[in-house]
């Protein structure tokens, strides 16, 4: 059967409905992953995707849910192409649902190109290695877990922790020092609450960037299956803005845990063999297809920097969602409940946080010559603080050696002066490093193994 002859053919009646999945038999041979239009008895069209195809039958996942569908009256059409999103300069400042349909009351934006939302793997030889320092104005990030342009750096948070505030602060303050460039923010919400979405929108308004933001909203009460395409649609928009329009795009994906839950839901209904905690075995591959759509391309000006937010169920970093994410992303910013309870903002955990691309984005000419060693020394000293605190909890502070007491005090000052800052405080990298030196200088010189003699002479005690 030729493609042309089957186009527009509509099948009346389906064979099975199971959660968000429907099964149709007696159809022509449809392609894997292709788009289907499912028409409910009232005539409303819902979109779906072919998950499995065999001779004359297909399993379709219906994005808008199967509520109100019936076996005899539902009609199905196949588009013969995967889900696409029409991209163009006009998408800036607009609000879409997870499938890319405008929900701000405006007309669909003019599309310069129609792109497959599934994307394609980037050829590693075409990538430009990210090494341009983004100053977020937050000491814990700039100083110790530096973000660079084109990086994917998630925030591992927990319920009730101020991850939204931190991300909002980053979007307000992030800049490349000494460079004026066109930038955009792509914001993809997956199953988050209405007021959280409102908080971000208000924030974009306040900082006057709303016309540079593209929003994709799938809120908590929207169909959960739609979440599976929301990040893909958003990243398609980001790829157009960065690689075609040469903009520097910051993509915020929140909350990836909800995305994974939807994936698990579908997998369970399809009776797939689960791996850990009921998540499908391909969760890693699936997540990597999302996270790897970040970076820079040789010869193209624009970039995609990803900042996914995910809440760790029960604050457990070894839960499959943060665990598998950490294996794909280039580091992670981990928020710590204990710091938050002590009213330290931002409560960025000193030790488990990491930026893998930091090494190439810092140093002379990028941040400052002493940056790498200061950061390394802060990590080492703070790790000692943790040991000393554990010891003090057992034997009491009085019994500590004099040096350990100095470390204890260093820990306090580090958390109070370096880690803590106000929500609207924008620190330059020089300020951050100077504060770093101030707290490091509390320790005797002999303890600073990770700093060179020259750096000690230049900065110690200053």
């Amino acid at each position: 059967m030729k493609k042309a002859s089957i186009e527009g053919r509509e099948y009346i009646g389906i064979n099975q409905i199971d959660g968000p999945l429907i099964m149709v038999k007696g159809i022509h041979n449809v392609g894997y992953n292709e788009l289907a239009e499912v028409v409910d008895p009232t005539g409303k069209v819902r979109l779906g995707m072919v998950l499995e195809t065999s001779s004359g039958a297909a399993v379709i996942q219906v994005f808008e849910g199967t509520l109100g569908l019936s076996i005899p009256e539902t009609r199905v059409r196949f588009r013969g192409e995967p889900l696409t999103f029409g991209v163009g300069a006009e998408i800036l400042g607009r609000v879409f649902n997870g499938l890319g349909a405008p929900i701000d009351g405006g007309p669909p934006p003019r599309a310069d190109a129609v792109m497959d939302v599934n994307g394609l793997p980037i050829n590693p030889t075409a990538r430009e290695y990210p090494r341009k320092f983004i100053q977020t104005g937050i000491s814990a990030i700039d100083g110790m877990n530096t973000l660079v342009r084109g990086q994917k750096l998630p925030i591992f948070s927990g319920t009730g922790l101020p991850h939204n505030k931190i991300v909002a602060q980053i979007t307000r303050q992030a800049k490349i020092v000494g460079e004026e460039t066109s930038f955009a923010v792509v914001f993809a919400a997956m199953g988050i609450k209405h007021d959280v979405a409102q908080y971000f929108i208000r924030n974009f308004e306040e900082s006057g960037v709303l016309e540079k933001v593209v929003l994709f909203l799938n809120l908590a009460d929207d169909p959960s299956v739609e979440r599976l395409v929301t990040p893909r649609t958003a990243l398609t928009a980001a790829e157009f803005l960065s690689f075609t329009m040469n903009m520097h795009v910051l993509v915020i994906l929140t909350d990836m845990t909800n995305y994974c839950e939807s994936l698990r839901e579908i997998s369970t209904i399809r009776e797939e063999i689960p791996s850990r905690k009921g998540y499908p075995g391909y969760l890693y591959s699936d997540l990597s297809i999302i996270y790897e759509r970040a970076g820079m391309i040789k010869g193209i000006e624009g970039s995609i920097t990803q900042m996914p937010i995910l809440t760790m169920p029960n604050d457990d970093i070894s839960h499959p969602v943060p665990d598998l994410s950490g294996y794909i992303t280039e580091g992670q910013i981990v928020l710590e409940r204990e710091l938050d309870q002590r009213n330290i903002y931002p409560p960025i955990a000193g030790l488990p946080s990491l930026s893998r691309l930091m090494k190439d984005g810092i140093g002379e000419g990028m941040t400052r010559d002493d940056h790498a060693h200061v950061a390394s020394q802060l990590f080492a000293a703070y790790s000692r603080v943790k040991d000393v605190r554990a010891l003090a909890a057992v034997i009491g502070e009085e019994e500590l050696t004099p040096l350990d007491k100095v470390y204890l005090e260093f820990g306090e000052r580090f958390e109070r002066d370096f880690l803590s800052q106000r929500e609207y405080e924008d620190r330059s990298i020089a300020e951050t490093l100077d504060i770093g030196w101030k707290v490091i200088s509390m320790l005797p010189k002999e303890e600073l193994h990770r700093i060179t003699e020259e750096e000690l002479n230049k900065y110690y005690g200053s």
């Binding site: 449809v30 392609g31 992953n33 590693p124 990210p130 063999i273 990590f379 010891l391």
Partner: protein, 589 residues
């Protein structure tokens, strides 16, 4: 035109079910659908077959044709492999980029070896010789570092009729012709193909005895690996698996490095591509890219090709081993490969064993690691393959199936420790959990090359580390002050050893590579500190007098301050240490 051998019946992600397959063999390569997606037959039942497809199957519909490629999944072996980056099924990524944009699109067919390039061939074999498979026909200078020996394909037998004259040849050109025992003429080209899932034959296995020198102190001194050995490197995310693998590929003294980026990050491969051509090998003075082959099947590339990437890598490694080279394979990460197995197995609805992994996981792991070893090649020379496989255990928990099964088939275990990584102690290889079964095998080499002290020094420092581990349990409960100074000197020595020796900065120009001689001298200084310090304490000195000596900070910094070619400066530090210790001693005489 390829022959049609069946049709698609069902598409489930990367697995395609096919009908009407009569002529295919198990593990045959096929092309699926109008885009000619590459796939491999992994199951046959009557006229039904399961095919794993190495490209994205979006848009593939039942009823599409399946074409036979007439051979199993194989790689092209010949000059031009070095310095190239391939995907999991040996498609050259740079050449793909020349035909396309920044993306890897579907249905691209590019040959693995450049057909245009000419190589200066020098014949070695003479006409009239009785030919055996694996013998050297001639040579080609592949890079300035490596001479590629053109081998007769394993299994070839007969009488050499003609060998090509010296001169420029392409990989498709015939360089030798022989008459096989039946009298038929067989032509041998500059390159040949070999199925990836089949081990290349060797004459015999040799005992392991030479260490693979990596320039990384914690490895060479504490947990050495022999050339031809196997290592597993497990660690949670952020503990430095990839960093360690990169350091090993940069500095280890193998002739050839095959780096398999299996289901890992795209940017990491880009990092290798950018940094390796600039890095100079300390032994040869040439860019290390000239001895490196990269297999990059990043996490977002098709999962079936990830499964194949490990085999592609090891087959290429065997090719260079057969030429008499020492090859080291970095497989990062074998967990992603195991997960690819799990995903494909799940899609084929096989019965799962542990955590959804197929029951044949241990068999596959064993098959892979057994392809390592020191061998006598068919051409009579010595060659080896060492494998360093990293494992990414979920949640950093080493009790998971991939770590556990791998441990059964390797003899060296470098456990990456989360606590050390958090304190930015790199390489974060735990000295308490790791082990190496190659210590005895490589002792002789160290004895010949370093004056016979290595094994003794190593044992002493390992003992101290063990004692420190026990003492730290006490310290955690009551603080260090209650310990007698004879025990506190152990804590001090171990702290010194960890900071001044085990920790190694791979970005520092001096520290990134440490010769075995420097390692041994450094270790001797640190052990002297312990021995002399303990003597002094027994004579009445206290720990603070010893800690206060200014020479200790010199010891702490010697890894950064003393280059590999000025080792006499370590002797000077040692002299100063002895003098300072003498001064302390004098106070108690």
């Amino acid at each position: 035109m390829l022959e049609i051998i069946g049709t698609v019946e069902k598409v489930v992600g990367p697995v395609v079910h096919a009908r009407g397959i009569m002529k295919a063999k198990m593990l045959d390569l096929v092309e699926v659908g109008e885009n000619h997606l590459i796939g491999e037959i992994v199951k046959l039942e009557g006229d039904w077959a399961a095919i794993q497809v190495y490209e994205d199957t979006t848009g593939l519909a039942p009823g599409s044709d399946i074409y036979s490629a007439g051979m199993p999944l194989s790689v092209e072996l010949g000059p031009g492999l070095l310095g190239t980056i391939y995907d999991g099924v040996q498609r050259p990524l740079e050449a793909i980029r020349d035909t396309s944009d920044q993306y890897i699109r579907k249905g691209i067919h590019v040959t693995a070896l450049d057909r245009e390039k000419r190589w200066e061939f020098k014949p070695v074999m003479k006409a009239g010789t009785v030919l055996e498979g694996g013998e050297v026909i001639g040579t080609v200078q592949e890079t300035r570092l490596i001479e590629c020996r053109i081998l007769a394909p394993p299994g070839a037998k007969g009488k050499v009729d003609r060998v090509a004259d010296a001169g420029p040849y392409g990989v498709d050109d015939v360089v030798m012709r022989y008459d096989d025992p039946s009298g038929a003429a067989v032509e041998v080209k500059l390159h040949h193909r070999w199925p990836v899932r089949q081990q290349r034959p060797v004459k015999g296995r040799l005992p392991l005895k030479i260490p693979l020198i990596t320039g990384q102190r914690v490895i060479d001194t504490l947990f050495p690996v022999a050339k031809g050995g196997t290592v597993v490197l497990p660690g949670g995310f952020g503990t430095g698996k990839t960093m360690t693998q990169h350091a090993l590929s940069k500095w280890s003294d193998a002739d050839i490095i095959v780096y398999i980026g299996c289901g890992e990050r795209g940017n990491e491969m880009t990092d290798v591509l950018i940094s390796f051509p600039e890095l100079i090998d300390p032994r040869t003075g040439r860019p290390i890219m000239e001895r490196t082959i990269l297999i990059a099947n990043t996490s977002n590339m098709p999962v079936a090709a990830r499964e194949a990437s490990i085999y592609t890598g090891i087959t290429i490694a065997e090719y260079y081993r057969d030429q008499g080279y020492h090859v080291a394979i970095m497989a990062d990460s074998t967990s992603r490969w195991a997960e690819a197995l799990r995903e494909l197995s799940g899609r084929m609805e096989e019965m799962p064993a542990d955590e959804g992994f197929p029951a044949y996981l241990p068999t596959r792991l064993a098959e892979f690691y057994e392809r390592a070893g020191m061998v006598e090649t068919l051409c009579g020379s010595e060659g080896s393959i060492s494998i360093v496989g990293s494992v990414s255990p979920p949640g950093g928990d080493f009790s998971e199936p991939v770590t556990q099964h791998t441990k059964r088939f390797v003899r060296c275990f470098w456990a990456l420790d989360r606590q050390l990584a958090n304190a930015r102690h790199y390489p974060a290889i735990s000295w308490l959990d790791s082990y190496s079964e190659y210590v005895d095998e490589v002792s002789d080499w160290w004895e010949e090359n370093s004056g016979g002290e290595w094994a003794e020094f190593r044992q002493r420092i390992m003992d101290l580390l063990q004692q420190e581990g026990k003492l730290m349990q006490v310290v955690k409960l009551v603080g260090p002050d209650v310990l007698p100074d004879t025990q506190r000197i152990i804590l001090e020595t171990c702290t010194m050893f960890k900071n001044a020796f085990l920790q190694q900065n791979s970005f520092d120009q001096i520290d990134m590579y440490c010769t075995p001689e420097k390692q041994l001298k450094m270790l001797r200084v640190i052990l002297d500190f312990y021995i002399l310090g303990l003597e002094n304490i027994k004579k009445g000195a206290n720990i603070h007098q010893i800690k206060r000596m200014s020479v200790t900070s010199e010891i702490m910094r010697m890894k950064f301050t003393i280059a590999n070619d000025e080792l006499e400066k370590i002797d000077e530090i040692r002299d100063r240490l002895h003098r300072s210790m003498q001064q302390v001693e004098d106070m108690f005489e």
